[in-house]
């Protein structure tokens, strides 16, 4: 039944997808969490009120979120070229992936942190905690379950984004499904890649949910 599946190719594609998704998820978290924190604390009446930063970050985040992902990929070709010298391959694909996912994730982190009762933050201030201390020991830990589930959602989006990025040269399961499946009239190849993507999403969601439940003490 799987006689027309090139398992070697599928294996390569799977590792490429893993490569893209893992790296871009890591960078999305590295960028998205500080941006999300910034979007909360620079808001009016918060820890570090600063209208200029608040508006600027908000504007950047909204702009990136408004551009459809596939357009973003094309827009960012020059950036990949500049930074990596190429627009092809999994590493080059992570740049538009992060650019698409980090602003989305920043909003999720923002929402997670805003959920924290203001009284709790005030209690820390009253005890003489500095801003840095409050961010590290109150905002992040208290919002952690939601920050983790947000990252799960983002990672799932990154899997589907990575499949799209693959088609314009990133490699991975998306590209293999398209080139060796769709364009080569090889349905078995097409559906094998599709099923693997679905499986990947299920696994990521399952692990993310498990971790979030584990750390949620509410």
């Amino acid at each position: 039944m799987f006689d027309q599946v090139d398992w070697q190719q599928v294996w390569i594609a799977t590792t490429e997808t893993f490569h893209m998704v893992i790296i871009s998820t890591i960078f999305t978290a590295i960028l998205g969490i500080p941006l999300g924190v910034l979007l909360v604390i620079t808001d009016r009446g918060h820890l570090w009120e600063n209208q200029f930063i608040y508006r600027t970050v908000g504007l950047i985040v909204n702009t990136f979120r408004a551009v459809p992902f596939i357009v973003l990929v094309l827009f960012l070709f020059p950036v990949s070229k500049l930074l990596l010298g190429t627009t092809l391959g999994t590493t080059a694909a992570t740049i538009p992936l992060v650019a698409g996912a980090a602003p989305f994730y920043a909003r999720l982190v923002e929402t997670a942190i805003r959920e924290i009762d203001r009284g709790v933050i005030e209690a820390a201030q009253v005890m003489g905690a500095s801003r840095r201390f409050i961010i590290a020991k109150v905002l992040i830990p208290e919002a952690l379950p939601a920050i983790v589930s947000g990252l799960t959602v983002t990672c799932v989006s990154l899997i589907s984004f990575s499949a799209m990025a693959g088609i314009v040269g990133g490699g991975g399961l998306g590209e293999t499904a398209y080139r060796f499946g769709f364009q080569s009239f090889n349905d078995q190849m097409l559906y094998t890649c599709g099923v693997l993507l679905i499986l990947l999403v299920q696994i990521v969601q399952g692990i993310g949910d498990w971790i979030a439940r584990k750390i949620d003490k509410r």
């Binding site: 201030q125 208290e142 003490k217």
Partner: protein, 320 residues
């Protein structure tokens, strides 16, 4: 010593430019080691006054001095130093959900950068002090209200403060738990000689713990003095009303034969309509059954309790 000298506080309304005057020209001295109560209706300015004491709010005019230090002029760093010596507890506790009881109490000790070994020692001491040693590894979501407030108190005491501010610390608790928390505060005051400033809207709390009391109304202190004097000879109408409310407040157990078709939902409405709080002590309310007998505990004004009782019980036939 805490000194407020001609303090006013005006908030700017968020939308239009209307101003909210929260405090008007308040002067007040609280001695070291005193237990000072502040009562007043909602919106009188009690919380605002308390928040001036740890610099959460700055006065619009006037000065706030704690142990000879002007709070409103301090830079961030010195303000943080001063705050470490002023504990505060809250109506809704404001504990960290992600930390155990032990870790919550350790929080202020982490702020001052105490080494871990000393921290643990101190926390164990505090846990014993508030009677929570068995619950040390529980999370706040697993605690009762009274236990949460005990954690709040331990946390507030961790840095050996000289002042403890309590903003309606017992308002979310039932009468019995309130008493046990007040008892704890009394013991802490006795052992540490700490200054206690507490806000409440229950005169009972003032009577049972305070040395002096200030009554607030519309941003001003309308009456202030030693508790015995104010209670035996209240001068201002607001004080008189607060005392009246306390005197007529009753705690009654009444056994009732309920009207047919009475349901749980009616009970909630009853409490709101007659401004009483009630609790079923024995018996059950089941939908659809007739003439159910229950014993209900009512807390509220005598007249309100009577009306509420009449509204739900079967008229007694014996009275003709």
């Amino acid at each position: 010593m805490i000194q407020l000298n001609r303090v006013s506080k005006t908030y700017l309304g968020s939308k239009h430019n209307e101003e909210v005057v929260a405090l008007r020209d308040i002067s007040l001295t609280i001695e070291n080691g005193e237990i000072f109560g502040i009562v007043g209706h909602s919106g009188a300015g009690k919380s605002t006054l308390l928040r001036l004491l740890n610099g959460l709010e700055k006065p619009t005019t006037g000065s706030v001095m704690i142990q000879q230090q002007e709070i409103s002029n301090l830079d961030n760093e010195s303000l943080r130093q001063v705050r470490q010596k002023i504990g505060m507890i809250f109506q809704h506790f404001h504990l960290l959900w992600s930390r155990t009881v032990r870790e919550n109490i350790a929080f202020p000790l982490e702020i001052i950068g105490l080494p871990k070994a000393i921290r643990e020692q101190k926390v164990t001491q505090l846990l014993k002090r508030v009677g929570l040693i068995e619950r040390a590894d529980a999370y706040p979501s697993q605690l009762s209200g009274g236990e949460k407030q005990r954690v709040g108190i331990a946390r507030a005491l961790a840095n050996d403060p000289t002042v403890l501010l309590c903003d309606e610390a017992t308002s979310a608790l039932d009468p019995e738990t309130t008493q046990s928390i007040l008892q704890l505060l009394r013991e802490i005051h006795r052992d540490m000689g700490i200054t206690l400033v507490l806000i409440t809207h229950e005169m009972g709390v003032v009577r049972s713990i305070c040395d002096r009391v200030a009554v607030m109304e519309a941003g001003q202190i309308v009456e202030m003095g030693f508790v015995e004097e104010v209670f035996s000879n209240p001068k201002h109408p607001v004080t008189q009303k607060f005392l009246q409310m306390e005197m007529h407040s009753q705690d009654q157990l009444i056994s009732i034969e309920l009207k047919d078709g009475f349901e749980w939902a009616n009970l909630v409405k009853l409490a709101q309509d007659y401004r009483v709080s009630l609790e079923i002590v024995s018996g059950r309310i089941e939908a659809g059954s007739k003439r159910q007998s229950v014993v209900i505990r009512f807390i509220g004004q005598e007249a309100d309790i009577e009306k509420a009782r009449a509204a739900i019980s079967v008229p007694s036939r014996s009275r003709g």
